[in-house]
Amino acid sequence: MEIRLSCILLAAALLSGCSWFHRGNKAPAEVVAEQPQGEPSIIEPQVPRRVVKTPHIKAKDFELGGYYGVLSIQDFGTNPLYGVRAAYHVSEDIFLEGYVARSKAGTTSLEDVFPNITVVSDSGRHFTYYDLDVGYNVLPGEIFLGRGRAFNSALYVTVGMGDVKFADKDQFALNFGVGERLLITDWLAVHVDVRDHIFETSLTGRTKNVDNIEATLGLTIFY
């Protein structure tokens, strides 16, 4: 009896040992979903739970657009300017704005009188700038056109800094501006801006701060 029992135990141990070696490629045990044992409920809810999805309110705080105008580059004449602008309106008073624009300088009086003299190479005449500004709506209001039409508007001032690349050199530039924003609709605005870019240069002989004033007309959309 004892021998038979130990044989059975030995066989069981061997079998379990074999199964130990095979455990690497053992098929995964099938999981059988448990069936509900209780009786089916008498009232089965037929109405699916109502999912309330709150509509999203679109925030139209960003403004994107372009502008075109004239830039007076000190000592280099007045020339056309074109650029793009993007703004984020933080509050009804304050906005943050960025600009990238380009113009091409003309000739200095010296070059006009003495055509053989070149102050800046042709490729260096490109005047490119970027600016990071903060703006403040000083005088918000409405502009009336005739009897039955009113447009929201704002007179704003901006101050900022950025880079002016002129004569193949990047210079740190400050800028100050004033502008008027006229909203044709809630999403379309016309801008009239005057801005001064001030930087230090020694292009014409001595080191000095130059004022480069631009006057532009722009169109932007709010989204």
């Binding site: 309330v52 709150t54 509509p55 999203h56 309110i57 679109k58 925030a59 139209k60 705080d61 984020y88 309106h89 933080v90 509050s91 009804e92 304050i94 943050l96 990071l132 903060v134 709506n137 918000p140 209001g141 409405e142 009113a150 929201n152 800094m161 950025g162 880079d163 050199k169 990047d170 210079q171 740190f172 809630d186 709010f222």
Partner: protein, 244 residues
Amino acid sequence: MRRLLALVLLVQALHGGLANAAAKNLVLVVTDPYLEMHSGPGRGYPVIYVIGRDELVTVLYSRTDWFKVRSLRGNEGWVRRADLARTLSESGEPAPIPPYPDFASHRWELGAGYGVYNRENLVTAYADFGLTTSLDVEFAVQQAFGTLDNRYIASIGVRHTFIPEWKWFSPTAGIGTAYQYIQDKVPPAPLQKSNEMAYVSVGARGFITRRFLWRVDWRHYVVFNNQNVYEDLEEWKFGLAVFF
């Protein structure tokens, strides 16, 4: 001709998008005695319509703290956030007007500022993502304007805010890595045009008002070069940022 067709399709798609958006606007019930509608999104614009209690308004879109709404009669005007937040949704729950972002737990921050980097003027723009209330990841893109060279610096780092519950002034410290590209202006050319760098920083931040905050940061960079010399740079900057 093909461009024109593309433009027409684009306009149609936009129009379709707007039409769909119009169908899913939020409708709210006025619970105050009346709700004032201004002619523009600002405190000074006159009140042009008034909506009475229990009437419905459709919210069209928002601009800063003002919401453009339309009454059932078709009148449109701007309502301030605080007034609209006191209305109810059609199911009787409080209106789902997003609350003002909380300074203590804000996630994103976008800012720009002025500084001095290696005794050169510095323009900086940065984005900041808060992992927790006291630990954030900062990405910065900067340009330094020198007389001899211009430098472009990109950096990424982590920053710890020591006492985030101090709203107006809270010291910070951080570490990170950066890359600088040197653009030569005056000969001789630099020995290396670009470097990897590492930095430690100490600074402070504070709440200003609404969505604004200020930051001051001082950084000490160690420049990894192949000249076998120890090179380090200093930078300080002041920035203004908005948070979301």
